[in-house]
Amino acid sequence: MAKVISLSIVLASLVLSFSAYAQTNDTSLANISQSDLEAGQGRYRVLCARCHGMLGEGGEGPSLKRARLIHAPNDEALFSVISNGIPGTGMPANWALGPSDLVQIAGYVKSLGQLEAEEIPGDAIRGRLVYETKGNCSACHIVSGIGRGVGPELTEVGMRRNIAYLRESVTNPSADQPRVSDRRKGTLNSFLTVRAVSEYGVYEGMRINEDEFSVQMRDIAGDIYSFEKSKLISYEKNFGHSLMPGYGVTLSEVEIDDLVSYLMNLKGEN
């Protein structure tokens, strides 16, 4: 029955995952076998690599090559995160994992933390200066409460992205955009650029919410609009297009390294 199941949808997911998790309570990751690790790597590549990278180096999702994961500081939390996801982030639930699947994947993820972390290039102090002056990033981003909330908040961005992803985000922001897991809708592009044309003008912004009959967007000035779709002349979703300008020309290579270094050091501390 998958039903109903199959349901299931995310809640279902939570329920089954919890059941699966419960089955693993007696399993210690400390004694996981080599064959389980290899099996876990196979499952990881199917389920996790799209966001966390084939080698756990991160990407849209955080690097897993950390001795301590922020949402999974211990084995129990790791099981829970893999099973239940992290609401409000791009980390989805994985309801269809049996107990052995869960142990194998968790074991492999944990083993990634024993790998050497990547070296951060550039100078974070100089990078902060780039962020605040030449980049004028706070015109659209908030760090530790300072700035304007048009684009994604960056207070903890160093915990969630890796170096390559942030570099690409600075130089070519349209290449990828963050997603968020929604229990009702799945994993959505959370900063999707949309364009609405009404009899009053043309409006371009980032989608905040949408249903079959209406759409809400925030434009680059931070103003929020709500449109009835039936009253629009046209409505388009521009996948692969970001309202953020690319800084590949504006900033030098050194400045980009410095800026990325600064961003990688943003880990939630004030």
Partner: protein, 550 residues
Amino acid sequence: MLRRVIYRHVNFCRISFCKIIVAASVSLLCVSSFADTSYEQLLADEQNGDDWLSYSGGYRSERFSPLAQISPANVADMKVMWAYQMQPTGISGAGLQESTPLVANGIMYLTESPSSVTALDARTGNLLWHWRPEISNEVLNIGFPRINRGVALLDESVYVATLDARLFALDAGTGAVRWETKVAENSVGFSLTLAPLALDGKIVVGVSGAEAGVRGYIDAYDSATGERLWRTFTVPEPGEPGSETWQGDAWQTGGGSTWLTGSFDAELNTLYWTTGNPAPDWNGDVRPGDNLFTCSVLALDPDTGEMRWYFQYTPHDTHDWDANQIPVLIDAEFEGEQRKMLALANRNAFYYLIDRESGEFLLGEPYSYQTWAEGIDDTGRPIVLPNSEPTREGNLVWPSLQGATNWFSPSYNPRTQQFFVPNRRMGAIFYKADAEYTPGAPFLGGGEQALDGDNATGAIVALDAMTGLQQWEFELLTPPWSGVMATAGGLVFASSNEGIFFALDARTGNPVWNFNSGAHIRTNPMGFAVDDKQRVAIIGGQTLFVFGVE
């Protein structure tokens, strides 16, 4: 014992269910409700727009309201008449609502997650009684949420199946327990989430649990005593017909659960019930063969449970495409011949017509994008495309495991022969893994990564029921998880994941009304009347809304 609700100061009561009583101390009381539903009323449910006496609005499972007061001409004036806020249970994981309310003689009966029953005054929404069984927090529900889809009514009782696999008969007037019986063993993964089906003196239920490797069955119980009358397994044991489609001991954990309410033809005295996936779900290597009678519809003798015929939609399923969708009974002319048919829009993306007297396959047409079958052959067997199976590395296939549709109900308008289907348009990467059976634990053999979010959409689709060809579609932002109801007023009521309850013009699919419920809608609409005024009901989140035009 006849229980009743007596309304004072009622301006108007319909003669069909009102009686005027003259008493010594009270003059002219209008008795507008009897907590009594006869089998004869159930037989006539489809023609009675005032009540909604069974899960699908009648034995034919049309989910069609014959009421026509609300139409495209006046639906813009439809407003909330009353709402009911469901009651928290404190049971972890409960709270998703998938119940279809029933209405009998002015009383509405609905279930609340995970297994509670509520009776409301259908005119005002005021609570009449609420019953909550003891359900352990440790109850197993492997592969599905802690939900319930509704009750059955017969005589003076309300019947509810519980998450921990029991069946209760409650007094319809008070909610007091008349009897209870254990249907299955929850500790190995059996559970009950469906609305039971009431026949003449019998209550029929099915089980969930294929994700735990149960062997499914359908049960009938004496409506008066709770005594079990028969049990029909959906996976045969060695030596029984169909056992040649299994090897070794795989049948013992073969799945084939029966978790959605069936349909009934009184004239043919035949019960139609659908079955779910074989177990384990995604690793078919451990269960070679067609795996009868999984992913099928069964025609059963309601008196004995004996199987008269079967039709298997998806032989040797490896994508979790249960056939647990609503079988709709249609009498119409098909290719020049008057037929008694059974229509089903399957999770596997094909729409089927079966002759329900013989089980003969008549039609199989895709109604949604799919990548697993070239088509359906003349016998009804899918022509499976190569490389459509789950693999260790993952294999992208449409539809996803949740299917092109799922348990939520379609609707059939017998006057226009339109079949309305909520359609999920989403693919998934299916992968295969080892599967080891442990009682009471997931037995899956793989999984999926759905292409969800902005990669997936949905639609409400209108099909010509006799050809399966699409007449129109209304696109949805995301794949829906809620059913539809057509009405004689020319409307189709449907819902979206975004929480919008809306009405479409049945002729064109154009939207003519909508309402934001403020929460995910994951159940079916239904309709009834109070004081001769048409009502439409839907649950959004934890709130039941009842709409009308005044």
